[in-house]
Symmetry: C2
Subunit: 637 residues, 2 copies
């Protein structure tokens, strides 16, 4: 059947993939860098600008502080890289903050990490797409009024790409990522050459945002530092995505991480320095990247190519979240902290529900915040740094366990093999240092950005964790209620009372009667009388066709379709509490929704009326209109 009728979804998403194909969906280092590093790398497009925007509050005279701030952030990146390298080797099956916390710290820290990361994946999409649109509107100011529509369209495009699956998206994204890297390094190279030869121009024609001439306080510097830390978001992506790497997975992933961090550091410091050299101005109308490229290249083709490449890498940064959000959500759902539907793989083996949730909420954020990066930034990165902290703390606990092991002993914990390591003391120290540093950065972020929007996160995260545990308790309660462990689980027949509901006597009701006759059990025909004339008409026809078969008439003085039957069934249940009541409903099936809406569709009404009545089974015996009653099988080979 799959090959004979290509459906709309097949055309859009490609042929369905078999479940057995799951393990083949892995990628090499070069495309992996494109898929997992775009988030981290692309943040250089806005991180420098966000530092300058905060410093501008004290005046342009303090822009020079952007350089030491960038260097401090680079130092933080070194700590994170070393820490995460250790995690990658410890967790070859994928060592995101969620798994590391779950294995080493327990349920509550794991769910906090999950809430933090899911939130930040959504924000990554919103921020990256908004920044990508800002690059477009820098080059084409006429598009500025359509920035929200553009952002929503881009998210829809990402959704389709990712519903097709990761293999396709890596090939679709490798070329543009490397194109961005080429254009970014070319910009830095040409800029440095011009600076060295004294031919570097200065930014002109940009109106800086209004400065409020606040005094320069430590608080303001820390706020600028927090804004710049958005450059580090996405560093953890590779450690989450290890199973997508070719073997040897851990080594490939670790090398990709090193390459990514090196590139990120070079670009971030390079852009910050160049922005100082050309005296770039934070502005609503033109991004810093656009200012740099315009100053270095002028308005020509290289300017445009630089902006195009930046836009594309930002759009792809969202792809990191499209790879990681559904995977983490499936993991949490597998632990029954999120709805189980998130573990279902769609036709292309992707966790489709996760993709839909991510895209939906990100679109909502883009619409609420009008695709403004500066407005979204205060919500961003708290979750990332909370995840960093929990992950490193988990690793510290893990090294403690390792230190207690015998040489040669191997323990498997949730797919991660743990063995003694002579260097455990050094490695534990590295992770502990990382945990403390990232925790401090998180606190700085929350405090300095609290009034700008970080307060939302301080409410949202506990709320999410509470919801996760509510879901978990529900699933546990259901499992207990359904368990066959207790007594009283008799398998065997019970008394049965069959009711055929008769609205009118026509082919559809004859079919319901025939079905009841086929069951070979005694049955009762019941009619709910809303209209006396129609009831009398039915009784006449019934007597003609059905001979002596009795027809029970239930009057419905208040014209309710269900209430008389519910009362009748409750009486039957009272007489025979251990019997099943079996209600058989005829019904019409039409070919279109519009035709169906012209009928009463009472089957739906009855099912919902009886859903809470214990021991009542409802059978639909549909009659298909316009099908001439030819069994469909006649068309099958």
């Amino acid at each position: 059947m799959k090959t004979t009728r290509p459906s709309f979804s097949t055309i859009l998403l490609g042929q369905p993939l078999e479940t057995a194909a799951v393990s083949h969906q892995v990628i090499g280092k070069v495309p992996a860098l494109a898929v997992f590093a775009s988030d981290a790398l692309s943040s250089v497009a806005y991180a420098t600008e966000e530092i300058l925007l905060i410093l501008a509050l004290a005046g342009a005279a303090y822009f020079y502080l952007s350089v030491p701030i960038a260097v401090a952030i680079a130092g933080l990146l070194v700590v994170l890289t070393i820490s995460y390298r250790q995690t990658i080797f410890a967790y070859p099956g994928g060592g995101g903050a969620y798994i590391v916390s779950r294995d080493n710290l327990g349920e509550m820290p794991a769910q906090i990490a999950g809430a933090a990361l899911l939130t930040d994946y959504i924000l990554t999409v919103a921020v990256s797409i908004s920044s990508g649109v800002a690059q477009i509107t820098s080059a084409f100011p006429g598009l500025f009024p359509y920035r929200v529509e553009l952002a929503v369209l881009l998210i829809l495009f990402m959704t389709i790409i990712n519903l097709r699956g990761v293999k396709e998206s890596s090939s679709a994204f490798a070329v543009p990522t490397y194109f961005f890297l080429g254009m970014a390094f070319l910009l830095l190279g040409v800029g440095i050459y011009q600076w060295a030869t004294g031919t570097l121009a200065q930014v002109s024609g940009v109106r800086m945002v209004a400065d409020s001439l606040q005094p320069l306080t430590l608080f303001l510097v820390l706020r600028a530092f927090s804004s710049g830390c958005t450059a580090l978001t996405g560093v953890e992506a590779i450690s989450n995505g290890i199973p997508a790497f070719k073997e040897p997975r851990s080594r490939n992933a670790a090398n990709t991480l090193l390459a990514m961090s090196g590139i990120l550091m070079t670009l971030f410091i390079g852009i910050t320095l160049l922005a100082r050299a050309v005296d770039a101005q934070p502005s609503e109308a033109e991004t810093v990247i656009s200012q740099l490229a315009r100053t270095v290249y002028g308005d020509g083709i290289f300017y445009l190519l630089t902006l195009v490449s930046t836009t594309v890498i930002l759009i792809m940064a969202a792809n990191t979240s499209f790879a990681d959000f559904p995977r983490l959500a499936a993991l949490q759902a597998g632990d029954s902290f999120l709805p189980r539907q998130l573990t279902f793989r769609g036709s292309r083996l992707v966790f489709s529900w996760g993709v839909f949730v991510l895209a939906g909420v990100a679109m909502l954020l883009v619409i609420i915040f009008q695709a403004s990066v500066s407005a979204l930034i205060p919500l961003y990165a708290v979750g990332v740094f909370l995840g960093f902290t929990l992950s490193q703390t988990g690793m510290v606990v893990r090294w403690h366990k390792v230190s207690k092991m015998q040489v040669g002993e191997e323990v498997e914990m949730h797919g991660a093999i743990m063995r003694y390591d002579t260097q455990w003391r050094l490695k534990q120290g590295v992770n502990a240092f990382g945990a403390v540093i990232t925790f401090i950065v998180m606190l700085v972020f929350v405090i300095t950005k609290f009034r700008d929007g970080a307060w939302v996160i301080t409410i949202l995260l506990p709320l999410l964790v509470w919801i996760f545990f509510r879901v978990h308790h529900h699933y546990q309660a259901v499992a207990a209620a359904l368990s066959l462990a207790g007594e009283n689980r008799v398998i065997g027949p019970r008394p049965l009372h069959t009711i055929v509901l008769i609205d009118n006597l026509h082919i559809a009701s004859i079919r319901a009667i025939n079905f009841a006759l086929s069951l070979g059990q005694p049955w009762t025909a019941v009619h709910i009388s809303i209209d006396e004339i129609r009831t009398a008409d039915l009784q006449r026809k019934w007597a003609e066709r059905m001979d002596d078969t009795p027809l029970v008439i239930l009057p419905s003085p208040y014209r309710s379709l269900t209430e008389p039957l519910v009362t009748y069934v409750q009486q039957l249940r009272q007489q025979a509490p251990d019997a099943y009541i079996h209600i058989i409903l005829g019904g019409l099936t039409t070919e279109s929704f519009w035709e169906q809406s012209l009928h009463q569709n009472s089957a739906l009404v009855f099912r919902s009326a009886f859903r809470n009545l214990d021991g009542v089974a409802v059978t639909n015996v549909p009659f298909q209109l316009h099908h001439d009653n030819v069994p469909k099988e006649a068309n099958i080979h």
Copy 2:
């Protein structure tokens, strides 16, 4: 049960009424005038203003033309009143344009009348409510920005009043209608007294709408006449509502019609004359009624009372439509030209679906046209005059039939008794004259208002008529398909193939198995294997509990829940084309929507997968969670 738990709807709408109570819902002449005449009477609040608005295009110098135009419209009212009086006596069961056309002209004219009237009932609500809000914002200009919200709230209020039923609404509306009449005649009386004593002031402080200084053409005068004809909308309401009158119905209704027409004519001409006398100006900011009352009374309490009474009568004018729209829709649905649901009476014996449709579309119109009366007027009244024309034409045909009858002979046609009438020639002439006049007015209306919006109606009415016939043909086709008239309608058992779908082995699936065992027929357990590990787990548990009962495993390589089972069922159908396939599904019922959404709810998915497969019956055997499996009947006395 009704008395033990007062539900939200009982509190909002009152105790349910028994079907037998239907005929008691009738009212006397005095409250009937309030219910059925408010539409016609209230139109004096805007008709004069709409005439002036058109004349203003040629300049204020031509405002004097409003008086002859009003007199011409009053002449038209006389013709209509005499014509409709004849209809009321001919159709004591209710003689709206729809019934008169159906009985005398045939299906197509009847459906055209139905489309025209339904459209205009909706517009009556939109126009009256918008004009009512305009009176409010004349007195309180600060509310002008909230006029759409106000209008929507008022429609919601009308909806609730009318869902309670006509008896309650007549008592709720009688006082304000007579209050309006009192205030309106007081305004005219005091105004005429001031005019006679030379103390009548002139309107001041009103900015007239910008005049475009068009030349005064016959076209413009006819346009002004058309706008004024909105005063006549609602005249037909009484002839539709005769069954709501106390006996003798026809006489009471006819007298009410005479009273209404007299009052309407007096008010309309009086207000138009007074508007001339005080030199009222058509304006966006202040209604003509407000200008009159302010000029006559000043800003005091009488000014406010006049506006309040006008607002209230306009809001109640919408009530005419709430009484007539559902009744006409039920009539058309009973003739199977509209969905049958429109014939269902709600808990208070009201045709609830009709009330909902009317309120919903009217709200939409108010939102689209921003509650502007002038913007809505061009869509209004075409339908009314088309209805007038068809109704009078139908009467002409009827008198022709009457002329062929013997003296003393009585013929019943759809509840209306027809007998010979010596004056048939005169009466036919009256109706023929009415038909021609209203047809001409309709043409004038369409032509002069075409570009302002009447073109919408020329598209909408044929479209509605087309839809009505589509619905009709569908119901006819269904009736033919379901008819027992043909052969091959064997009543008797057929072979049966029972399948119990097993997802996992727990109490809910055990219940489905027990239900299958209770049926006493052979059955097959089937499992759809999406996840190999879960399948293996199930097979182990199955072997433990179910001994030798075979479990059929259907692999689902593409993870589809339904496709393997659909294929399996199709194969079974091929082997035994005349057998029924009976699919039994277990399922969980939780206490809340949120809990339910955490489960797969596959019953729904399976039902929709099998709805088009002939001869497949699907049974739900729900298992209620959190009910401790205590039969609910234990709580019932």
